[in-house]
Symmetry: C2
Subunit: 240 residues, 2 copies
C-alpha cells in the first residue's frame, strides 16, 4: 500500500523510471507508454500520483499526451534552447562586466524608433546610450528607447545598470510579460567604431530587444552593437 519508504517522492521516482527507459532506448519515440491506470497498478500508487509524474515528463518534452488515445514518447526536443540574457550573462559568467552610462536624453522619436515602439514619429522618448566593457576593453554599445511619460521619475542608475525588462517594469510600475530578441551579424559602423576601439567594418553582433506588455503593446526597444571578437552568446538545452 504505502510505498513511502524511499527518500524521493513516488511521482518523482515514477518519472525518473520512465525517463530512464526512454534514454536507454527501451522506449523509443512514437511508442505509447502504458496507460495511467496501468501505471498506477504497477507502481502501486494512485492515479493522481501517476499524473503528477507524467506531467513532469511532458513538461520536459519527453512525453506527449493525447486525450482519448494515449501518452507517447516524443522525438528529442533539442530544437529548443534556453538563452540566459542579461548584462551579466553577456560576457560569460567568469568575466565581470562593467557598464558606463554615456548619455541620457529625451529626443523626438525618429522613423525607426517610432516604428518599433508603435508610436508617432516625433513623440518624445527616453534615449539611453551605454557602453559595456570588460577587463580587456570595450565590448558593446547599446541604445535603449522607451516612451517618455510625463511625471514619471527617471532613475538614472536603474536605467543604466538594470536589465532592460526590469528597467521598464520599474518605469511603468507593472509586471511585464513579453520580451523578444533578434540576433544578427553586421559590421561596426562609424559611430560605434571609436567607442569600441576598432575600425569601421569590424564584425559585430547586433542584438535588438523588444519589450511588450501582455497585450502586445511595445514599451521598450533596445539595440546593442557588440564586438564580434569579444561577445559570444551561449544557449543550452535542458529545462531541468
Amino acid at each position: 500500500m504505502e510505498g513511502r519508504n524511499e527518500y524521493l517522492p513516488a511521482y518523482y521516482r515514477l518519472a525518473e523510471d520512465i525517463r530512464e527507459k526512454i534514454e536507454s532506448g527501451e522506449l523509443k519515440p512514437g511508442d505509447a507508454i502504458p496507460p495511467a491506470n496501468r501505471l498506477a497498478e504497477v507502481y502501486g500508487v494512485s492515479l493522481m500520483t501517476v499524473r503528477q509524474g507524467l506531467t513532469i515528463l511532458v513538461r520536459m518534452g519527453y512525453l506527449k499526451s493525447v486525450q482519448g488515445k494515449g501518452t507517447f514518447v516524443t522525438a528529442p526536443s533539442a530544437g529548443t534552447l534556453i538563452l540566459p540574457f542579461s548584462d551579466k550573462h553577456l560576457l560569460g559568467q567568469d568575466k565581470e562586466v562593467k557598464v558606463k552610462l554615456l548619455n541620457l536624453e529625451i529626443p523626438a522619436a525618429d522613423e525607426i524608433v517610432a516604428d518599433r515602439l508603435a508610436i508617432k514619429k516625433g513623440t518624445k522618448v527616453i534615449k539611453v546610450k551605454r557602453l559595456l566593457y570588460a577587463d580587456e576593453g570595450p565590448v558593446a554599445v547599446d541604445f535603449r528607447f522607451l516612451p517618455y511619460i510625463k511625471g514619471m521619475p527617471l532613475l538614472e542608475k536603474e536605467i543604466a545598470y538594470a536589465a532592460f525588462p526590469e528597467v521598464i517594469a520599474q518605469y511603468r510600475e507593472i509586471f511585464l510579460v513579453q520580451s523578444s530578441l533578434e540576433i544578427y551579424a553586421c559590421t561596426i559602423r562609424c559611430e560605434e567604431a571609436e567607442l569600441l576601439e576598432v575600425e569601421e567594418g569590424h564584425p559585430a553582433l547586433c542584438l535588438e530587444q523588444l519589450i511588450r506588455l501582455k497585450d502586445g503593446r511595445p514599451v521598450g526597444w533596445s539595440r546593442m552593437m557588440a564586438r564580434g571578437d569579444r561577445l559570444t552568446l551561449k544557449a543550452t538545452s535542458r529545462t531541468g
Copy 2:
C-alpha cells in the same frame, strides 16, 4: 460545491486570476499570496486543485513556494529567453529553407575537431558539409562532425536534412539530452565566400553547436557560418 459551470478548468482559472493580480500590480514581487487552504476556500475548490493551479505559476516563474513559510511573488524573470533552433527556424517561419548536401567524408580529426569532441587528433570522424539556402539565395554553410563508429550505417538523407541532435540520436541509437550553442559574429572567410556568393570579409553569424550525452561526453559538433544579412535568430520570453 461543484463549480464546473465554466469552460475552463478550475485550476486554470485560479492561475489566471492570480497571474492577473500580479501583472496588474495588485500583488508585487516579494508579496506572499494567501495560503493554499485559504485559496481553496475562496475559490471553492479542493487543495489539490489549488496546488495544480499554483504549480503552473511556479513553472512560469511568477511564484516561488517555500515550504513552511508560504508562496511568494517573484521578480520579473525576463532574463531567460527561449531560442527555437532548427534548420526550419533559422530563416523565419515564413520562408522555406532548402538544404543541399555538399560533401560527406570520413577524414582524420584535426586539432580543433579533436578538441571539441574530446578525442585524439587523427581519429576518424564523419564530416558533413551542407549548404542552406532560401529563395533569395544561399544563407549559410555548415559543417557537422561526429565520431566515426565502425559498422554503424550512415544514412545520408538523415545526416543532411534532420536537425543535428536528431542525427546523432539516430546514429548512436540513443535518446540524448544536452545540447549547447555558441553564437558570435565574424566575417566570411575565403572558403565560404564563393558558396555564399559574397566577398571575403562580409559580416557573418557563426553558430557552434555541441551535442553531449547525458554524462557530458561530446558526440557531435557543428559549426555554421551564415550571411549576416540573411540570417536572424529570434528568441522570446514566455514559457506558455
